[in-house]
Symmetry: C2
Subunit: 557 residues, 2 copies
């Protein structure tokens, strides 16, 4: 790996052309203020200037709200996606087929919201990555839990398979039908039920879009405890159903802690109301946990109670270039030690990621080209204190050569633009060709080894092999692009990647879930006893197996 010697810190300046909220980010103007780290004197000056700078700019109360909606429009064109059963070895299970009588029954339950128009059905049958496609003939759009209950009661009696669908932003083909499952969309279940402006507890229907909820609670001085690239489309119910991780996991933890209550409709239409708003409740088994991360296979989440943290008064983002992965790790340790409770994100990306966001999205690298980049975010209650802590960190990592170049932002729009570099990698990849996606938990020390290994293994068969992700959580997003889907490339990747991960006692799905595409690799991360128990749980809650079939669990022998 190349060592970059020039050390500088760049104060981020926004081009006057840039506008928050636009889909395509304008070219980011390159830094306009540089401080060369030639002598200790300079370093001191930098520290002082940084603090003054922050104070002068004020302490924006706004928090990061990424621009990057997933660019559906961009990937919606092109050739038709291969039908899932044509690409993958999967047999339709003996469910009934939707009849005219079924359609009439649905129409009775949700008049005017039974969609059978093939054009409207098209987008619901295909995942956003355009890798799997079902052939459902009907999309149902209930507005209430009672309607969901009646629909499921009907499907249960009629042995009709059901595919619950939120924002359809999943990465593993869990949100679209495999065959002709009835699509049950939460899109019209988008009402906030209540918000408590002292406790920050939000209760809402499952179909609320994450970004809209973010806006709603931010106006009330709170933030959502989760944030992810797909926020502009994903539904909170889908987030919970897939136990989404995302960008705030490091600071605010898992949905298993922040979700306080759920309302779920079970396979037979029974409504399970565990929609409490209590931070603590040890009365019996915590049933809601069964549904968090169950990908719609155990029940349909219809409402969510979630605790929102207070909106931080100050947010700072530093974007840094590192000469090697060892330095990335050491920078993380330094940040965790020195930033402590205000560290709210530590993301990394490799140089190929940066090239891809430049090439496909015209985003500009704000720092000197480096083998690795990290994005460090702090969120805290005192702008002055936070800036001082971050400045101390930057001084330390630059002095010690862990970081060769960096830029810092405190203004909300600039913060967003730095975040876009990390967040829009997924979008850039999807424009690069067919993407083989892996989302792995690995021991942090070995997080990048697999990327290097795969580059050698695949050689020119892959267009790009890139690694990025939530380093603070030990979560690598490993992506391989190719001109088109190729069985040969797939064969070179799998099971190799899974076996490699299992050898490290890692997880073959850190946050994306298993859905359709990863269901057969469950055994790489879970022992047979666990898989059997999962199957028993599924049989208990969904004895007919009508809920999101062909997903999450491997087909039983």
């Amino acid at each position: 790996m190349r060592m970059l010697c020039a050390c500088r810190v760049v104060f981020f300046r926004l081009s006057p052309l840039s506008r928050a909220g636009t889909m395509v980010l304008p070219l980011v103007s390159r830094w306009s203020a540089r401080v060369l780290w030639a002598s200790p004197g300079w370093r001191r000056t930098y520290t002082q200037r940084a603090c003054v700078g922050l104070k002068r700019l004020g302490c924006p109360r706004g928090v990061y709200s990424p621009l990057a909606h997933r660019a559906y429009s961009v990937v919606a064109g092109g050739p038709e996606v291969t039908l899932t059963p044509e690409r993958y070895p999967v047999q339709r299970l003996p469910f009934s087929t939707v009849s005219e009588e079924d359609l009439a029954a649905f129409e009775c339950i949700i008049p005017g919201r039974v969609i059978t128009d093939p054009e409207q059905l098209q987008t619901c049958n295909v995942d956003w990555l355009k890798t799997v496609r079902g052939c459902s003939k009907v999309l149902l759009r209930p507005q209430t839990s009672e309607e969901v209950s009646q629909i499921l009661r009907h499907c249960y009696k009629r042995n009709l398979a059901v595919n619950p669908q939120g924002g359809n932003t999943g990465m593993v083909g869990g949100s679209v039908p495999v065959f002709d499952e009835v699509i049950l969309s939460t899109a019209l279940m988008n009402q906030v039920i209540s918000f408590h402006d002292v406790s920050g507890i939000l209760v809402c229907q499952a179909g609320c879009v994450l970004e809209e909820l973010s806006r709603y609670v931010q106006e009330r001085d709170f933030i959502m405890p989760l944030d992810l690239g797909a926020k502009g489309s994903c539904h909170i119910g889908g987030n919970v159903a897939t136990n989404a991780g995302g960008l705030r996991f490091l600071r605010y933890g898992s949905l298993r802690g922040t979700v306080l209550g759920l309302e779920v409709v079970l396979a037979d239409g029974t409504i399970l109301n565990c929609l409490t708003s209590l931070r603590k409740d040890n009365t019996g088994y915590d049933l809601k946990q069964m549904f968090i991360g169950s990908e719609g296979t155990l029940g349909v989440i219809t409402a969510v109670s979630i605790v929102c943290p207070p909106r931080p008064k100050a947010v700072n983002v530093a974007f840094l270039g590192c000469p090697g992965f060892a330095e990335v790790l050491q920078t993380f340790r330094t940040c965790r030690g020195m930033l402590g409770e205000i560290l709210s994100a530590f993301e990394f990306m490799d140089t190929e990621c940066m090239q891809l966001v430049g090439q496909h999205l015209q985003l500009t690298n704000p720092v000197q080209e480096s083998p690795f980049y990290v994005l460090v975010e702090t969120s805290g209650s005192s702008a002055g204190h936070d800036a001082e802590k971050l400045t101390n960190v930057l001084e330390q990592v630059l002095n010690s050569g862990l970081v060769t170049d960096g830029t810092m932002a405190t203004d909300q729009r600039k913060v967003q633009m730095l975040w876009a570099l990390r967040e829009r990698i997924t979008e850039a990849l999807s424009r690069d060709g067919y993407v083989f996606k892996y989302d792995l938990s690995l021991p942090v020390e070995r997080l990048y080894d697999l990327v290097i290994d795969l580059r050698t293994r695949l050689g020119p068969r892959a267009k790009h092999v890139v690694g990025y992700g939530h380093l603070g959580d030990g979560n690598l997003h490993l992506n391989v692009t190719a001109e088109a889907f190729s069985r040969e490339l797939l064969g070179a990747l799998e099971p190799y990647v899974y076996a490699w991960t299992a050898e490290q006692r890692g997880s073959v799905s850190a946050e994306h879930g298993l859905g359709f595409k990863k269901k057969d690799v469950l055994g790489y991360s879970k022992p047979p006893v666990a898989v059997t128990l999962m199957q028993q749980l599924k049989a208990m809650l969904d004895p007919e197996g009508i809920l999101n079939p062909y997903k999450t669990l491997p087909a039983q022998a």
Copy 2:
């Protein structure tokens, strides 16, 4: 309520007699430095002095480690505890009785660790509150999961009921047998399996004592994510099995987020190994969640993987007197707003609690007598920043009359002594007579109303009616003491307290669980559909019902 007008802030000074680690705290010397808040000038002086004081004292790296081991010795004497079936309406289920052949089989599995001596069995048959007593004839002390597995396999075949037992510090009679269940103790399963000094992930056997783990990780610059009064005796396995909340919940959240993996032995002896050390793992259903908080009724937890937060560099504690509950609430809001991410605890207690810790434990009130007291703790990475934030808060709450008197501590021993005032309330209550204990989640605004209500309702029938708890989590510990157990008093309390709580949509068990004593009140907080589902889950995992019978779920009709 009496309004206290004198405003002063007291710097806590430790009596030379006091020794950390002793069971009975010496008298705390009363404050020796007072700053009268007569004018804005004085206030400024206070602020400056507080900061200087903190700097002078240095920034203790030590974190709070409460002295209060639960005083078993104190409550161990006295008359024999009534056998549970004599006080409560409960019928023995048709389990087998332990035979000589069973004892021989156990002896083969764990030679020398099969205890049948009645004296040794005595303490394991009685809960520490001396409210329930079983009559088990055998205590088993396995050292490994394999041994637990063999024991359960035998019990399952023989239809022998099993009572898993950790530190036996539970509040709801969940940890002792009701009849003659085999006691399966985790006491000898007390080995640390691994600790990762970068990630802070600890893997250990279930019988490790929380305080010992705390010490272990503190030596490595981390802390346990939970802390509770019983830390000197409770086992981590028991903590997880009961989903313990405790004193760090506000900051580090629930065990549902911090526990990364579990090893569990199922009813039939099958070992379920989900002992991963990954922060993120979305491969299939998160089975470990079923066992967290299941009180040993679904499986026996034999090992735990838990993520420990870095040890904070600075800990400050303020102990404040408030003139009314409205002011307690407003002080909480002020602290949350101004302390943000460094607020690590916000506890409250009423004046009767203070009287009891004074009367029974000779602890001295370090501030002027007030209707309410709050303990505010900050934990952060910068002593200077944290002290500045806390000082600003204190200035604000004193100026606005929310607080009438206060004292602050940064030194570890002094921090511990302030904490003892809050933490040893349970112990003081147990010395006051028979204690009727309620652990409720309520809307924070109404948290104290029930205490006032009950004082009127019970009149002189109760010795004391006290309220204290984790205000930041909406968790009230409501305790009523009497000279002895009384059915009449119980009748005045129940179901009144539960119905009152249900009316507020609260939880009848915030953190203590249901165990034996609360199992029949589950329906006040959970709908029938949920209770049915819990029963199905129990039947699935423990079809013979041998694991901790008569606990958690109401007896089926």
